[in-house]
């Protein structure tokens, strides 16, 4: 079985930041492996270690800079990586779900995986829609927000738990081939070992342009136009306690006592 994992490099914004036009100023951004994808990579690597999977391939839509993040996934046990990029993508503020679906579909057609694992959402744009859209487009079955996965090799079925709201999980059987979107907490992502990091240096990251994937610029025309970005207005009337730790703790203790919950 071949497992394809979608891996995104996401931008994280510093506590204090400035907005320039419709973007957070580059100075305040740090790039990292998307948290949800970290769990997806771990789940795929465990499927390989436990037997069912023969190969784990990652796919990333991202510029050359993202290779650092891709190497992290390789260091954690993915076998090789595909990186899709095109200069035309540089100018797109907000990639829409359809564009991501088109790009990933082309990679799925080339790789022919049995199972695609994708993080539930990306920490930056938080659309949470690519996995299911991709599944529908390529004719795979799917399950969104999976927090437990038990793959039955004989039946070729994924027994999954889907984490619903309010502490309820739905138990679902999903026929492969399938796309599962992976929720945090499904496993414990490993740290990349020094040996893994060394090995990752020699693993393949195959760059693919739109041309390589048989796509043209029409396939990345976004339906979404990001027209403004701003810090949300706070309607807060919070009373902030001033002073050093001792003073603030003292004031808080008074409040807790007044409210009758501690004494």
């Amino acid at each position: 079985m071949k497992v394809l994992v979608t891996v995104k490099e996401v931008a994280e914004v510093a506590d204090d930041f400035e907005i320039a036009g419709t973007e957070v100023d580059e100075r305040y951004l740090e790039y990292d492996l998307n948290e949800w994808d970290d769990y997806a990579v771990e789940e795929a690597v465990q499927l390989k270690e436990d037997g069912p999977a023969d190969e784990v391939v990652t796919v990333t839509v991202g510029p050359e800079r993202s290779e650092e993040t891709i190497r992290m996934a390789l260091a954690k046990g993915a076998d090789r990586a595909v990186r899709v990029w095109d200069d035309a993508l540089e100018d797109v503020d907000l990639l829409d779900v359809e564009t991501k679906t088109n790009l990933l579909k082309a990679v799925v057609e080339a790789e022919d995986p049995d199972l695609v694992l994708s993080g539930v959402q990306a920490g930056d744009d938080a659309f949470g829609a690519t996995g299911v859209s991709l599944a529908d487009e390529i004719g795979f079955q799917w399950g969104a927000v999976v927090n437990a996965l038990d793959y039955d090799d004989e039946e070729n079925v994924a027994h999954v738990h889907r984490e619903l709201e309010g502490g309820v999980e739905e138990l679902t059987d999903i026929d492969l081939p399938a796309v599962l979107t992976i929720q945090t907490g499904i496993n414990e992502p490993r740290y990349a070992s020094l040996r893994g990091i060394r090995q990752a240096q020699s693993k393949e990251i195959a760059p693919k342009s739109l041309d390589d994937l048989g796509l043209d610029s029409g396939s990345i025309e976004s339906d979404l136009d990001l027209t403004s970005m701003y810090e949300p207005e706070s309607e807060s009337d919070v009373e902030i306690f001033d002073g050093d730790a001792s003073e603030t703790a003292g004031k808080l203790a008074e409040v807790l006592t007044e409210l009758g919950v501690a004494e």
């Binding site: 506590d15 949470g128 859209s133 999980e169 138990l171 679902t172 026929d175 339906d223 919070v238 306690f241």
Partner: protein, 316 residues
């Protein structure tokens, strides 16, 4: 072609709150587009759901009787068929776990631009959606191209529709192919455990800010000194530092204590969904811009590793 189609959500026999919020969002859009508000309810006891959904501002309710519980194949086919019949300008669906399990498929097969997790909608010569990015640190507005669109809305952003309506209620035959590739086999309640945090009067809750499991005893000392109940945000449970029954939030427990003391919790929307009903919210966080301060009544901008020991001292 300026109608709006909203798709209700239910689970285990009850409509979920977001269904009534969808009616409000849908009515607002329908007023702006000058069209009718159509509501779809799929699977389960659709007749009784339709009666409950018949609130002020709803023009038509379409029931699709196939299936008992949510199944994404049934939902995607039902909404696709209704879309073909009604040709609405915008389809509005919930940004819930189940909404995200079928809305992207609906958008894909109908070739509709999809915007998820909307916190505000505006229609003026086209659809504009307000949504957040970077863990709620920024808000954005997005213009959506095309004549027809699909959006999912965040729960609790629109008030629930009220009153009694006079909608036309009719059964819709969506010609569903039930031989799908996924089968729901049951439900499981998670994390019963020894403590029910939803009953607690004073909750001390911790988040990423505590950094390492080794720092947990410090918080446990505070819990003991104040006779509080210990809870947490999602990352603490994901790391295995506390059991699932301690998790507050959208996918955990909803709590309504007299005091909710959030320590090292930034206040992501998924967490806030579980604790905003507390009578008093107190936040301790190093980041003065953390969203938790937007909903807090009292706050300390400071290092929890300095504040918590001082607080323990106050109660010992």
């Amino acid at each position: 072609m300026s109608d709006i189609l909203a798709v209700a959500e239910h689970r285990r026999g009850d409509l979920r709150d977001v269904s009534y919020e969808l009616l409000t969002a849908g009515r607002q859009l329908a007023d702006e587009t000058g069209g009718d508000l159509h509501v779809a309810v799929v699977s389960g006891d659709t007749e009784s759901f339709a009666d409950d959904l018949n609130r002020e501002g709803v023009d038509a309710i379409h029931t699709v009787a196939d299936g008992e519980e949510f199944n994404h194949d049934v939902y995607a086919q039902a909404v696709e068929a209704l879309h073909a019949e009604l040709d609405p300008e915008v389809v509005v669906m919930p940004n819930s776990v189940n909404g995200l399990d079928y809305a992207p498929a609906v958008a894909n097969r109908l070739d509709l631009p999809l915007v998820t997790d909307a916190v505000a909608l505006d229609y003026d010569d086209g659809l504009t959606v307000t949504r957040e990015m970077y863990g709620s640190k920024v808000e954005t507005t997005v213009d959506v191209a095309g004549d027809q669109q699909a959006v999912t809305i965040r729960g609790a952003e629109w008030p629930a529709a009220e009153g009694v309506g006079d909608a036309d209620i009719s059964a819709f035959d969506a010609d569903i192919d039930a031989d799908a590739g996924s089968t729901v086999t049951g439900f499981e309640e998670v994390g019963g455990g020894d403590v029910d945090i939803s009953e607690a009067d004073f909750i001390v809750s911790i988040g990423r800010g505590i950094e390492e499991e080794e720092n947990l005893p410090l918080i446990e000392d505070l819990v003991e000194a104040t006779d509080a109940t210990l809870a947490s945000s999602r990352p603490i449970v994901d790391n295995g530092w506390l059991p699932k029954n301690r998790q507050v939030g959208q996918s955990g427990k909803v709590v309504t204590p007299t005091v909710y003391l959030a320590i090292g919790i930034s206040g992501a929307v998924q967490h806030v969904a579980g604790m905003k009903g507390a009578d008093n919210i107190v936040a301790v966080n190093t980041d003065p811009n953390a969203p938790i301060f937007d909903i807090a009544d009292y706050g300390i901008v400071g290092d929890l590793f300095e504040v918590v020991p001082e607080l323990i001292e106050q109660f010992e």
